[in-house]
Amino acid sequence: MNKIELLAPAGDLEKLKWAIFYGADAVYIGGKNFSLRANATNFTIDEIKEGVKYAHENNAKVYVTVNIVFHEDDFDGLIDYLKELENANVDAIIASDIFILDLLKENNIKLEFHLSTQASTLNNEAAKFYKKIGVKRVVLARECDKETIKAIINEKIDTEVFIHGAMCTCFSGRCLLSNYMTNRDSNRGGCAQVCRWTFDLYDEYKKKVSDNEFAISPKDLSLLKYIPDLIDMGVTSLKIEGRMKSIYYIATLVRIYRMVIDKYISDKENYKYDKKLEKELYRCANRETIDQYFNSFPTEKEQYYIGRDEVSNQDFLGVVLDYDEKAKEIILEQRNFFKKGDIINIFGPNKESFNIKVEYIKNTEEEMIDAARHPKEILRIPCMKKVEKNDLIRINFFDE
């Protein structure tokens, strides 16, 4: 069996490095042009080159999204851009528009072609066609259940399956809600996320059905419990959604999924699902997560109606910059408020997290302070256990 890939999002170069550092086998990024998520920072061609160099040095791959649905006036610069991606040694492009496959062949551009989830591949016959025409990998529609995933894998085409992140309400690549309601083109990076709005529902005679707002917003997806199933099914790549997400979110998710994949592969017979990791994962997400279509068709329980349990996450307290072995102190950069006496949790790639009590806090002037109040402030706290640069510090929520 080939090694399964853990694929993480990276909205910029910093996030790319964090994702790989925390255990991603591959990252997907967007360039400044031809990519959805127009509001993400996205990469210049020089940044793509730097990202690829960093990734390859760390045995990871980089896929670049070229996933807008092209209009007749959007072709300018595309061939040159694809050549630049080839020269940058990117490992594949993720595209929605199938003509790019011919464009690569006609221009002798050697880039692997992954078909985006925007193509909404829901069945094995569609996958069979894509394989025949030279698509190396299909990113499956998020509506696929496990039987469909198996049927598509049977076509001997590489499959990429979303395991975590936001869901679209409607079939991807087929949704014009944003176009009609905001004039922003959802298929060219302008999606206004209309499916997160609330509405009223009226009957066919335009009489209001009830005072309860009508919403169509889905909860997020998490297939943490089903990682062993996906590995055994032969999925090629497990994909985390969220190019706009923070480094804390990416590092936390990548670390957890990495640990689950590695634990299962190293000892399948004795593998046990770890509820503690589930708690970490759910805490990090800002919406509830659920298995969505994987086991059965979603019902009312898989979506939101009255508002959302969407919380702004203040768990992330700081980044470890260094460890002073002599003083037994962590040197950190603050991200959210914490104070003397708090119990905090420290974690890093491929290792168990642990708690410490904040016995004191010192600033760069060596002054004792009662609380860490200022974002990006450099501080020292005591810790007997050695930590590593780029470990992360968060609120201890395990005892809540």
Partner: protein, 300 residues
């Protein structure tokens, strides 16, 4: 050139359609199609198609759904059956249809109908592999469509009348709402989603999937005039979904009248008003003259 296809109305008034020189009918098949006022059962297909052929009209079968894997076996059987019937073409949305037809060498012309039909290069990609035609997606402007027709050889079709399907969800969104709030749901399938800021009512219909529609009815008769005046070789599609049947006949007559007098500006304006009034002035011309925003700026 500029022939008219209409969705097959419940009452098939073939005399009317012959007099008005309607080229053909788009029709939906129960379980395999969506967004039709009525569906043909698979068991009745031959009879209905024979009746239409007898009256010298063409049949376009609209398979405008995306299919889950558990529907594929039935889809294969249907396509084999259709290949033996006298139909002009299948209008498809799922690439599975294209693959099954080609892999089994079925003698069926294929017309691509998807929101991905946005540019000539993608159309040409499929044309090289045996595509016969396409229906352009509604977010494309008329000028873009004209450019596309010039850069492709496939049969071009543009929808110029009817509600526009904005999106489709495989979730049962209306049933879910009723279940969540413990409200008894009646047998209605059609509801409206009301957007409070713009005060627009968007039709939303739940059957196998949940479909969202534009708040206004597309009235593209002036664009039809432009297509004829510019000698654009294409067909137009008039869609009766959720439209009163008598009004739809008026709409067809208006488009046919325009086709017969394409150079008369004042007459075209009058016809436009006829269509608007039949739709209680709840009309617009969608994106035909209105580009959507590609790059979103920070303050948009």
């Amino acid at each position: 050139m500029n022939n008219i296809i209409v969705s097959l109305p419940t009452k098939e008034n073939f005399k009317f359609f012959s007099e008005n020189k309607i080229d053909g009918f788009a029709m939906g098949i129960e379980n395999f199609s969506e967004n039709f006022n009525h569906y043909i059962k698979e068991s009745n297909l031959k009879k209905v198609i024979d009746d239409i052929n007898k009256n010298n009209h063409k049949v376009y079968i609209m398979l405008n759904k995306l299919y889950f894997n558990n529907q594929i076996d039935d889809l294969k059987k249907l396509l084999k059956k259709l290949s033996k019937l006298n139909i002009e073409a299948i209008i498809f949305s799922d690439i599975a249809v294209f693959n099954i037809v080609k892999e089994n060498n079925l003698d069926i012309k294929l017309i691509w109908h998807s929101k991905m039909v946005t540019n000539s290069k993608s159309i040409n990609f499929y044309e090289k592999r045996g595509l016969y035609g396409y229906i352009i997606t509604p977010q494309i402007t008329l000028d873009e469509f004209i450019k596309i027709t010039k850069n492709t050889n496939s049969k071009a079709i543009i929808k110029l009348f009817g509600y526009t399907n904005m999106a489709t969800s495989s979730r049962s969104l209306i049933t879910n709402y009723f279940n969540n709030f413990n409200i008894n749901k009646d047998s209605n399938k059609k509801y409206y989603m009301y957007e409070k800021i713009t005060k627009e009512f968007y039709p939303i219909v739940e059957s196998d999937y949940t479909n969202f529609f534009s708040s206004k009815v597309l009235n593209g008769i002036m664009e039809y005039k432009k297509l004829i005046n510019n000698n654009i070789d294409c067909m137009i599609y008039l869609d009766d979904y959720m439209i009163n049947e008598n009004s739809f006949y008026n709409i067809i007559e208006a488009f046919v009248a325009l086709k017969n007098h394409p150079n008369d500006e004042a007459f075209a304006e009058k016809l436009k008003k006829v269509i608007d009034s039949n739709m209680f002035n709840e009309t617009d011309n969608g994106f035909l003259n209105n580009k959507t925003i590609y790059k979103v700026k920070k303050d948009e």
